[in-house]
Symmetry: C2
């Protein structure tokens, strides 16, 4: 297996944390998104979508989405479980992970990619150039702020995002919280449940990188 990563980007960071939480050592190749290495012919042969993360299996199959990478690694290395154990746990991990993506991560991406000077003409990841939409950056920011209120409410009722155990939903939410700083959003001081959760997660080595 080979893992195509980018240290500065939120999506590959999710996969990187997942791999480290599983205790796996996988050969890693850095793809410099700042220099546009994802758009080169060499990288297109690995992933025509021109995105990271990619987990390339030994038969050449390329997993290009966090959902696919997580499902594979959970099946291959079930311990420690990061996608839940019982039916209800599996459901809540999948449900909260989807909510954090939809309401949090994609909203922050809208906010960043539609106003960053470095992303003019590159408002969507992938091989096709799409123009920025400034109104969408504003909407994304409003939705991101709304999401962090939702997260704080949830963490008032639940130790971790999806229940009693650390899971993929925590990984996605943690990456979200850091990523949000790029658009001046993120958990506020008043969101004390989120603060408790960040302290709970604080010393996990996987999150420090």
């Amino acid at each position: 297996m080979k893992f195509y990563d980018c240290q500065s980007a939120p999506s590959p960071r999710r996969a990187r944390i997942f791999i480290q939480e599983k205790g796996l050592k996988i050969e890693s190749i850095e793809v410099n998104l700042g220099k546009g290495e994802q758009l080169t012919d060499d990288f297109r042969r690995i992933n025509p979508r021109c995105t990271v993360p990619v987990l390339e299996l030994d038969d050449g199959t390329a997993l290009t989405e966090n959902a696919g990478i997580a499902a594979y690694l959970e099946a291959l290395t079930p311990e420690p479980p990061l996608l839940g154990t019982s039916a209800e746990e599996k459901a809540l991990v999948a449900n909260w992970n989807a909510r954090v993506e939809l309401e949090g991560l994609w909203a922050i991406a809208d906010a960043l990619r539609n106003r960053s000077k470095g992303m003019i003409g590159r408002a969507i990841t992938g091989p096709t150039d799409y123009a920025q939409i400034p109104e969408l950056a504003e909407r994304g920011l409003a939705r991101a702020n709304e999401f962090f209120e939702t997260l704080n409410q949830r963490l008032g009722n639940s130790e971790y995002v999806a229940g009693d155990h650390f899971s993929m939903a925590d990984i996605t939410a943690y990456v979200c919280a850091d990523f949000a700083a790029w658009v001046k959003s993120g958990p506020t001081e008043a969101q004390t449940n989120t603060k408790r959760w960040l302290e709970l997660l604080g010393d996990r080595p996987s999150l420090s990188g």
Copy 2:
């Protein structure tokens, strides 16, 4: 269990097909989105996010995302498998399902919700009103058309969307193909691999509703 559905909407349709493919009978309650029933106090008590589908478990837990509903039902009723069996199958189902959502479903939703007269001020599902962004409707349509080219390419290499078996990725892609008609997108006559796949799926009773 109770299943909160809406016959005319694509997201609950995905869950409805999943339930039927599993051969399950679950009490179903129709939520009329056209009349705004998802925004009533009664429905907010079930799902404060004001969206369908919702699968309400007997302990009151509300699964509000297709990912959560599918994970629960697959764990509860493993046969027939809709999320894959081997590690690689599970990975490819999750990977393709995520791609169909991101590149297809959300793009079509952008195209529809940001220009439909019935959705003025309701460009995002959920409790908060967000204004339409006409430029985003255009971008969504362009991305949807790009997605159907991707789908056709994939179906040139694979019998079903994620591999050799019918899976959740087929459900999402099929719902996408129908949903796209609302914005005058969808598979074209020239996309013959998709045409083959639509014929292959054509007689599944779950897809007729």
